[in-house]
Symmetry: C2
Subunit: 227 residues, 2 copies
Amino acid sequence: VIRLEELKKIYRLGSVEVPALRGVNLVVEPGEFLAIMGPSGSGKSTMMNMLGCLDQPTSGRYFLDGEEVSRLSDDQLAAIRNKKIGFVFQGFNLLPRTTALQNVELPLLYAGLGGRQRRDRAVAALNAVGLGDRLANRPNELSGGQQQRVAIARALVTEPSMMLADEPTGNLDTASSEEIMGIFQRLNDTGKTVILVTHEHDIGQHAKRIIHFRDGLVVGDEPVEGR
Amino acid sequence: VIRLEELKKIYRLGSVEVPALRGVNLVVEPGEFLAIMGPSGSGKSTMMNMLGCLDQPTSGRYFLDGEEVSRLSDDQLAAIRNKKIGFVFQGFNLLPRTTALQNVELPLLYAGLGGRQRRDRAVAALNAVGLGDRLANRPNELSGGQQQRVAIARALVTEPSMMLADEPTGNLDTASSEEIMGIFQRLNDTGKTVILVTHEHDIGQHAKRIIHFRDGLVVGDEPVEGR
Ligand SMILES: Nc1ncnc2c1ncn2[C@@H]1O[C@H](COP(=O)(O)OP(=O)(O)OP(=O)(O)O)[C@@H](O)[C@H]1O
Ligand SMILES: Nc1ncnc2c1ncn2[C@@H]1O[C@H](COP(=O)(O)OP(=O)(O)OP(=O)(O)O)[C@@H](O)[C@H]1O
Ligand SMILES: [Mg+2]
Ligand SMILES: [Mg+2]
């Protein structure tokens, strides 16, 4: 479902160049469950932004379901982001002045669902992450881990075929993390592709394959034992 | 150095009340190294805000170095926050339009240091967390873990007698986390009090005492073996 060929990303800040991705090659089949691990600043979030069609590479090619993403129009990219992909951002990216419920309903507006249906699906997603009693709260009225779970619910609510989650348990205690990994496992059991970035070894062990990043390159790729 | 007596915090949102702290009692001697652990939403960040003089309790008392904090004036509280306490926020709270260097220099402005001295100390702090080559970058040009490290450098730069860090390694790989814990250990070796919130068991083991939170109360308090 995913093919990356010599993907490069260079950020330019004035005269300084930061080579965030230096030639990433990766093939992911539909239904896989990947964990991406590596040092801070090694390019993991940058690659996730490429996979999520949120940013374009400087060079190299990204094929998603056989189509080369850089050839697609803005409208086609927006449709892919909304229909195919669920994205949990490392920094959550919640709308600060809207409630948890409204934040989770938002992707369903683009999907063209009616008000009643949007609300029911958003409530179900928030219940699934244990926040059914916090629907009316805004992000600044929620703990760090609660905000993270609202971001996860928002990524789940469109029932995407590919889930991309950047450090989804970074602010969660062990019990909440296990619940979230259970949700991702159930997604994967229904055939959805799950790719998550994590720095925690225990969380990585929930995946079936681990990709190791270092300095903008893939330096390791191994199956998880017993999975 | 710290005494909390029946500390309570109730957030009121319209007619709904959220009892974030339900009667916390705690005594911390100078030079201790504490880890605070507990489920998402159990009140850890709320308590850290009390300790950091960033918020006042609904009832109960907080004594810091023998003075009751709720009796102090705004000016006295601002002086304490700036001179005595270093605070690493769970959400970093960096100024988005200013560089890493400027973000780290900011607390030193209140301390009345001259331009040259501020710069030297900020550069040293950023070097200590491995970001010496990113001084001119703004937060949105930095990875999640790099932003977290800028927030840590900012808390260190005033050489506070008490370091409060809320999930300081939540976005850091193992190697970077070990470096940060090394910095906190060296602080503690010079007699500074260190209190950090973490959800990771391995990080908690770097402390000398672990406080367990659940539903707004302290439910456990034990020494770390071998420390
Ligand atoms: N400004 C606020 N208004 C209303 N409720 C709040 C506010 N801030 C926090 N809360 C609530 O108080 C409770 C405790 O929050 P707190 O942030 O202290 O939890 P925490 O232990 O730090 O959680 P986490 O591990 O997820 O960061 C939570 O239920 C939270 O939703
Ligand atoms: N908008 C940007 N402008 C300039 N440089 C950037 C930008 N975004 C990221 N970078 C740089 O690109 C490199 C890779 O960043 P990225 O966010 O992908 O790292 P990461 O592996 O996700 O790190 P972390 O584990 O800390 O989240 C870093 O050196 C970072 O500073
Ligand atoms: Mg990242
Ligand atoms: Mg918190």
